[in-house]
Structure formats: structure tokens, C-alpha cells
Point group: C2
Chain length 223, copies 2
DNA sequence: GTCCACATTTTGATGAGTCAAAAATACAGT
DNA sequence: ACTGTATTTTTGACTCATCAAAATGTGGAC
């Protein structure tokens, strides 16, 4: 029996939630999960227990939940579908990068592997989606991307923006407007703890100062 | 509240069922509907009653069900999505016409109007899908196609195949193999009631004899 | 007109997924 | 150790969609 959309959404939320934990931990707390899915805490608990029955997750009461090997594979494939679809919508269908998330959120549960592979082929087998998020292989593997954020990268050193970790439309449009999309070359000029801000020099000597919260969502690679 | 996939499937089945009735009647019998949807008769009855509550259908106990204006519009939009998707998969994604139905059956419930319109635009606003089925407009209107089948068209008169009414893979591959797809020019040479068959002359003087049941599924227009 | 076969509706039950609110638990601070 | 707060789990209930099987209605054959 193939997993329902609901099951897929839980697995994906655990998969994505585990990576984004601060501090990084194996177990995703139920509150986190419930929040990500927009359901009541009790609902998440119940659902996670049935996922554990199915062998898709390991559940430790009062501690949290983690994917099993099987759950991880399934989750990675949902994420693969999501990101291939986003890429397809941007490259082939003329969508903006801030407009694709909701559409992909629905389509990821219904498109066949066949169609995903056709899209992937037409796109030239890309490694990342429009936001720079890595696309898992059909086997569910993601090559780890060693990466720093604007908060941790060296100062006054040229870097390339490779990834934007936030699907919020308004944030994405802000990023686009200030030429901070993946691929752009920039430099962090200064960080100031007191004002909670980071000053960036972008394309054409453009300067912009953003908050540390926003800065942590922009990942870069040395150049 | 937007209709669930289930509601959309019921409305579509009623919409499509009403056209295919023999004899043509306003009301689709519950048995027919249950059969088309693959659910138990009692299930269809229950569901149709709630659809009637919502004002999407008119329900006459022991007689059948018909769409209201509102139901008709919704159903036509589901059919539009289905057929635009099928056309997109064939023209843009390299699918065969016998491979698109199942994929479209799922996608029709999740793709946005925005994406459907983008597909439609890329396809050059086609009037029919790969099987020759008419695509309703965004307003839910289908221009009536005056049409005859191979059973009713004049003998020894050149006609063009315009539509194939059957989504079965095996049947579609048979049709394709014998060059009887929409667009092909043919002539009905003879019909024989005793042998329940129809002899057709197709492309390159090809002759083929098919049963009346199959013949009734091939629609043609005078040329 | 009566009766029968068949279609339809009703009934009672089930599974998936959800919520609100009550109960239990963990844990940090004193 | 004790207590308070935040998190988590439990409980009871609800909606949607479904089935099997019993009850009922319909229309045709005779
Ligand atoms: Mn996304
Ligand atoms: Mn993304
Ligand atoms: Mn179809
Ligand atoms: Mn079709």
C-alpha cells in the first residue's frame, strides 16, 4: 500500500525538520513537527505512533521522532519530487521562484516517478532546485553540501550565494530584488552583534544591511 | 471550501456519464455512477445526497442524479484540467496517448488554474485532447461537436476520424497500430449485422474489420 | 392485478485523520 | 527535594468516505 499524502507530509516534515534543528539532534520534537504540519500536538503524537507501527519512524515518547532507513528513503523521494517540480515550474513553465512552493506542495503527492524522471531529464538532471536546495537522487541520496551562512563565513572574502533556506514569498522577493539569489557573488563586509545585523556588498558595489536572522538563511560557498 | 478530490470525481463521473447514456437521458442512474467510480451502490447514494445538500446536483430517489448549473461548471473545469494535462503530457512530455489517463486522473485534482492556463498557452489553446475529446473553456463551456460514429456515418464516403471514446490502454494501442487515430482519413466500406462487424478502408488502402462495439467508439466527421 | 427480479436505499460499522481539553510528564530554578 | 511552566500524551468526539448486508421500492412479465 502506497503512502497517503498525509503520511508523505509527516515523513517530509521529519526529514526537513531534522536538518534544521538547533542544536542539531537526531530526534525531532513533537511540538516542532506539529507546528511544521499545522496540526494540533496530539494529532502529531497519534500519527507518529502509527508511523512507528509501520516501521517508518522510531518514536521515543517525550523525546521526539526520527526516520528509519525506510522512512528516510520515502521522505527523500518526496523531497526529490518537490524539488524537481519546483525546478520544472521555474525553468519550463515561467514561474517565479517565489511562486512554485504551493504548487509543488500539492503535486509532489500525485506525480508518477515516470513524469518526475521526464522532467528531470528535460532539465538536464540538475543537482539543486531554484532555491539551491539539493535534489535527492532517485535512490534517495543527497550529496552533503559543506556550507556556511552569511553569519559564519569569513569576512571581506568573496563568496557565492548557493542556497536560500526559506520558502516565504515576501522573503524570496526581497532576496531577488537585492540580487542575492543563488549564483550571485558577494562579500560580507561586517557583522555587528549589538545591532543584530550583517552588512553585505553585492553586485555593482551595492551595499545592504540585513538582520542576523535573515543572514542565517543565506548559505554561501567560498570562491 | 474547495471541493475534495472525491467530490470532483463524483461530479466528473456524472458529467461524463450523462453524455454517454443510452438512451440519452438527463438523469444518471446510481448503479451507473457507482460502477464508474468503483464504489458500492450505497456509497454513491450517500455521497449524492450530500452533494444535493451542497446544491451541486439534483437527486431523484430511485431515478438518478443530474448536475445543477453550479455542479456542471465545477465538473467541466475538472474535465478541462484533465484534458489539458493529457494534451500537455503527450505534446510536451513525450507520453503516448495510451499512457496519459492515469497520470491526468491524479493531477486534475491538484494543479492550479494558473498552471493549467500556462499549459494551455504553451499548447496553443487546443480545442481537443489527444483522444479528440473536447476541452471545456475556462468558463466551463464546450462547443457541441456534431458527430457520427463508424456505425452511423454514410457508407463509401470519405470521413475523418475525430475522436476515440475509450481510455483503455489496449484499445488505444490497437487503434494507433492500425492508423485509426484522430486526424486519419478513412471510409466505411461495409457493415454487417449478422457478423456484428464493420469493414473500414484506412490509410494506404489498408483494410480492417472491427466489431460494432469498437466501431461505436470511433467518431468521425464528413470531409 | 400479482409476483419476481433487480436496482436502490438504509443501516450499522470501519478506518483515516483531525481537534479541544484534560491528564501526565519532564525539567529548570530555587 | 519542591514547585511551576512548558511540553507531551491521553481521552472523547467529530468528519469524510467507504463497505456489507438487510430492507425497500420499481417496473416488467405473466
Ligand atoms: Mn518548496
Ligand atoms: Mn525549494
Ligand atoms: Mn483521460
Ligand atoms: Mn481524453
Amino acid at each position: 500500500m502506497l503512502p497517503s499524502s498525509t503520511v508523505e507530509n509527516y515523513l517530509k516534515a521529519i526529514y526537513l525538520g531534522a536538518g534544521a534543528l538547533t542544536p542539531p539532534s537526531r530526534l525531532v520534537p513533537m511540538g516542532q513537527l506539529a507546528g511544521a504540519l499545522g496540526v494540533a500536538p496530539g494529532t502529531a503524537t497519534t500519527m507518529v505512533k502509527t508511523l512507528a507501527e509501520s516501521g517508518l519512524v522510531e518514536y521515543e515518547p517525550y523525546a521526539g521522532v526520527a526516520l528509519t532507513k525506510a522512512g528516510q528513503k520515502l521522505a527523500a523521494l518526496v523531497v526529490r519530487r518537490h524539488r524537481v517540480i519546483e525546478m520544472f515550474l521555474v525553468r519550463m513553465m515561467g514561474y517565479g521562484w517565489d511562486e512554485v512552493h504551493d504548487e509543488a506542495e500539492q503535486m509532489e503527492h500525485v506525480v508518477s516517478d515516470r513524469l518526475i524522471d521526464r522532467m528531470d531529464e528535460m532539465l538536464g538532471r540538475p543537482e539543486v532546485d531554484p532555491h539551491g536546495d539539493p535534489i535527492p537522487t532517485p535512490e534517495g541520496i543527497v550529496k552533503p553540501q559543506p556550507m556556511q551562512s552569511l553569519l559564519t563565513c569569513p569576512l571581506a572574502t568573496p563568496v557565492t550565494i548557493t542556497r536560500v533556506i526559506d520558502q516565504d514569498k515576501v522573503f524570496l522577493r526581497f532576496i531577488e530584488k537585492h540580487n542575492l539569489k543563488p549564483g550571485e557573488s558577494i562579500e560580507v563586509e561586517a557583522r555587528d552583534a549589538a545591532s543584530d545585523s550583517v552588512r553585505v556588498r553585492g553586485r555593482d558595489e551595492q551595499r545592504i544591511t540585513i538582520g542576523t536572522k535573515a543572514a542565517s538563511k543565506l548559505l554561501v560557498q567560498a570562491r
